[in-house]
Symmetry: C2
Subunit: 122 residues, 2 copies
């Protein structure tokens, strides 16, 4: 993923409503949710939600499809994964100390002790 796309993704995620939106969509997988339901869940006006959805879709973090009157939005897991991958691999060079902080992505054996230390510290 190029840096320009990553910057767009980070900008899109750097907003409370949009981060919540991604958190809401991920567990629904490809089924996604219609815009109206998202608006109700997050307590956003229709126009505000539409604005945020457009920002996330533009950044490649969510997808949309029209189903009759509704527009269904779902998380674009490849897009999100690509952004995380850039931060971890391109930006941090897979640094073991970064991976140690990353519960989902534990470092290999030799860094295991470090991970414990870090967890205890925080």
């Amino acid at each position: 993923m190029e840096q320009g796309k990553v910057l767009a993704s980070l900008s899109a995620l750097a907003h409370e409503s949009r981060l919540e939106l991604v958190r809401l969509l991920v567990p629904h997988g490809d089924d996604g949710l219609p815009a109206g339901e998202i608006a109700r869940a997050l307590g956003l006006s229709a126009s505000r939600l539409s604005f945020h959805l457009a920002a996330l879709e533009q950044a490649g973090l969510i997808r949309s499809r029209r189903v009759s009157r509704n527009v269904i939005y779902s998380a674009d897991l490849q897009g999100i994964g690509g952004t995380i991958s850039y931060l971890l691999a391109d930006c941090c060079l897979d640094h073991p100390e970064v991976r140690a902080c990353c519960s989902a992505c534990p470092p290999e054996d030799e860094a295991a002790g470090l991970a414990d230390t870090l967890t205890a510290e925080s």
Copy 2:
């Protein structure tokens, strides 16, 4: 890491100069680099760099220490790792398809085939 801190980190990273800055500092580890050298490397004016450094330090992504006349900045790998961890674990629930996109963080055996598919697609 709480969502507020993650939002601050994402905001800080969502800027070309600041993302470059982190990329520059990570390989230098705890040794870090003096502000002047960073300014030269990135082609930034002193005041602009200082502004961006303050934003990154405020967000907990870098640290600073004064050494004689110089201020040495280094990457805060725990801070960066915490942000990535939030995205991967709290936001994406360790979803295997997200991990599959994440070269540094390959999914476990059963997701390996998926990873190949995704790589071939992009």
